[in-house]
């Protein structure tokens, strides 16, 4: 019986679809939000209540990483993104974004770096604290990526109640931030010589950005939760204004008009917008060979449509396809492993990490 029980449980953890098998590799996670591969069989992942953990995908063992910064966990806030330094193999550095209390008992977005040594964070340092205090942690953004020049970009959401501030440059609401990995400000940042602007700002006029990546050709792609009917996929360029909330394709959750305008000179149009909203939550640009059908396409997880949108740019046309909807979960995060396997994290307390296995 002892021999058969694991096999029995394993059978129940594998879903079958017409083209792919879904294997649940981690289950019952405590609101895990993001993950990154340390090796093919080992992932580092965050849980929103403020836990950073390492999981072995071989034996499913999970180890708590200690010395984690204190976070403010509620609503959409907590320990959010974790990424590895591009030179992680030599310097063991990681970066974490999270919401935490400020001195005046409000909440804002923080970015910390630390070295991961034997399941413990050492030499922790806060390298960025957003000028974006709010009473509750809504619309935090909190996505991190690296540019080719070694600088780091971070999304800082509009805080919902502070949406109009996304159009002002004296704060970090609704902005993409660019800093060096030690927290200093790159001297070629677009607003560095503007006395009325915060020097970390790279682009502005954003809402709640939940997807951020840099492709090998150096382009920055970002997607953001719009209001009802206004989720967007954008190409980010320095100093540009992406319009929120002066222009939008959506309306407020309350039904109120946010803006009757969808375009204006000096404000960027999205590459693509979703109406009705899909609530895009993360994305990768798949460049490996394991799934030839996904090669050189964007894979975007979605919370509301409960699927992965494959987005293809071809001959000035954008095509979309819904994938993995048979999973039926709100999907929070997506990564490809070093060997090219796609892993998807579902959303919310008790969530799962699922491996997508091609049948062929």
């Amino acid at each position: 019986m002892k021999l058969y029980l694991p096999a029995f449980l394993f059978l129940f953890s594998v879903h079958l679809s017409s083209e792919y098998k879904f294997e649940t590799v981690l289950d019952n996670l405590d609101d895990a939000w993001s993950f990154v591969f340390l090796s093919e069989d080992k992932v580092l992942f965050t849980e929103m209540p403020g836990k950073l953990k390492i999981a072995s995908l071989k034996d499913k063992s999970i180890t708590n990483v200690t010395n984690i910064p204190e976070v403010a966990y509620s609503s959409q806030g907590g320990l959010s993104e974790v990424v590895l330094d591009p030179d992680f193999n030599s310097n063991n550095k990681i970066y974490m974004s999270y919401s935490a209390n400020t001195d005046n008992n409000k909440i804002t977005l923080f970015l910390s770096t630390a070295e991961l040594v034997n399941d413990k964070l050492v030499n922790s340092k806060v390298i960025f604290k957003a000028v974006a205090s709010r009473r509750s942690p809504a619309h935090m953004g909190a996505k991190i990526s690296f540019l080719d020049d070694g600088t780091l970009i971070l999304t800082s959401g509009d805080g919902y109640d502070h949406r109009e501030k996304a159009q002002k440059l004296d704060n970090h609401f609704g902005k993409i931030i660019r800093i060096n990995t030690d927290g200093s400000i790159p001297q070629d940042n677009p607003f560095i010589s503007n006395q009325n602007a915060l020097p970390e700002i790279y682009s502005y006029g954003h809402r709640n950005m939940q997807g951020l990546l840099v492709t090998s050709d150096g382009l920055i792609y970002e997607h953001e939760h719009g209001p009802k009917g206004g989720d967007e996929l954008n190409i980010i360029k320095p100093a540009l204004n992406y319009g929120w909330p002066a222009i939008t394709y959506g309306i407020d959750y309350s039904g109120a008009v946010i803006s009757p305008f969808t375009q204006k000179d000096g404000m960027e149009q999205p590459l693509l917008y979703w109406d009705p909203s899909i609530a895009p939550s993360d994305m990768i640009y798949y460049e490996k060979d394991l799934y030839p059908e996904f090669k050189n396409t964007f894979l975007i997880t979605a919370l509301v449509s409960r699927d992965v949108k494959q987005v293809v740019f071809e001959n000035n046309e954008i095509r979309q396809k819904s994938l993995f909807s048979d999973l039926g979960f709100r999907l929070r995060n997506i990564q490809d492993s070093p060997n090219g396997y796609i892993y998807i994290l579902t959303d919310g307390p008790g969530n799962k990490l699922i491996k997508v296995i091609p049948k062929k």
Partner: protein, 276 residues
């Protein structure tokens, strides 16, 4: 009728208050848009004001009804223990209930300020004032005897309020309105776009105007005319399904409801007039 007037006075006062509240958010939003050099004009202002009144208003309507029902019931008891004039007590109760509702919506439900107009102190005060006038309006409704026309008019206005949503969608955002019926507007040629927009807009505006005329004149013919149009839509929906083989479209249920509502009002007027 004596008892019925109280709940309908709450419903009417709540609708009146919503009409005062929604422009606070709309105007604060328009002022901000103007401050960032957006080309705010008469048409765009009307779009914001009317859409907010209809879409935001429907959400608020339920909240205000609950708030007023509690506040005015409490006030009805309190009146027996104080010498303060009833009209001021009800007005004050209206202001307090709106203030409490706005506060609780943030603290208990959304954790965020859903109403843009309620984010500033001035906006909050304006909401309280709207509640004050709502309470005063309630008092003016219950302080006089009412006959059947009060209830008939209320249902007529509520019907027009719902139809207004379709009207605004087709007038201001036809692309989105067309998408609700399965059309991708920009994929149609110019003539088809024109036909779609003019016919649908005319359809909804006509029934809206019929209803308003019915509310003003209490002539049942206007309500009946609106009812016939929606019954017709339901009948020919089924005709399209069963005779022309289109896909099953359950929107006919909504059409029957939208047809029955004014038809019942029309027959109610006829009944009451006969018994007067």
């Amino acid at each position: 009728m004596k008892i019925a007037k109280y709940p309908f006075a709450v419903f009417s006062a709540a609708l009146f208050t919503v009409m005062l509240i929604t422009p606070i958010s709309s105007i604060s939003n328009l002022l901000w848009l103007n401050s960032v050099d957006m080309p705010v004009g008469i048409i765009s202002s009307l779009e914001v004001l009317l859409f907010d009144f209809q879409r935001l208003g429907i959400l608020l309507y339920g909240v205000v009804i609950i708030g007023f029902a509690i506040a005015f019931s409490f006030t009805a008891v309190l009146i027996n223990f104080t010498n303060i004039s009833s009209k001021y007590l009800y007005a004050l109760a209206g202001a307090v209930s709106i203030g409490a509702a706005m506060y609780l919506m943030v603290e208990l439900l959304f954790e965020s300020e859903l109403l843009g107009g309620n984010r500033t102190f001035v906006g909050k005060v304006l909401h309280w004032i709207a509640g004050f006038f709502g309470g005063y309006f309630y008092y003016s409704l219950i302080s006089k005897n009412k006959n059947y026309t009060f209830i008939v008019r209320f249902f007529g206005i509520l019907y027009a309020y719902l139809i207004l949503g379709f009207v605004l969608n087709w007038v201001f955002t036809p692309e989105s309105a067309a998408a609700d019926y399965g059309f991708v507007l920009k994929d149609l040629n110019d003539n088809a776009q024109n036909a779609l927009i003019r016919d649908f807009t005319s359809f909804f505006i006509s029934t809206f105007i019929f209803t308003i005329l019915g509310v003003i004149t209490l002539n049942p013919t206007w309500f009946l005319a609106a009812g016939i149009i929606y019954y017709g839509a339901a009948v020919f929906n089924l005709y399209a399904i069963f005779i022309h083989g289109t896909n099953y479209n359950q929107i006919y249920i909504g059409e029957i409801i939208l047809g029955s509502w004014p038809t019942i009002i029309a027959f109610a007027i006829l009944y009451f007039k006969k018994n007067e």
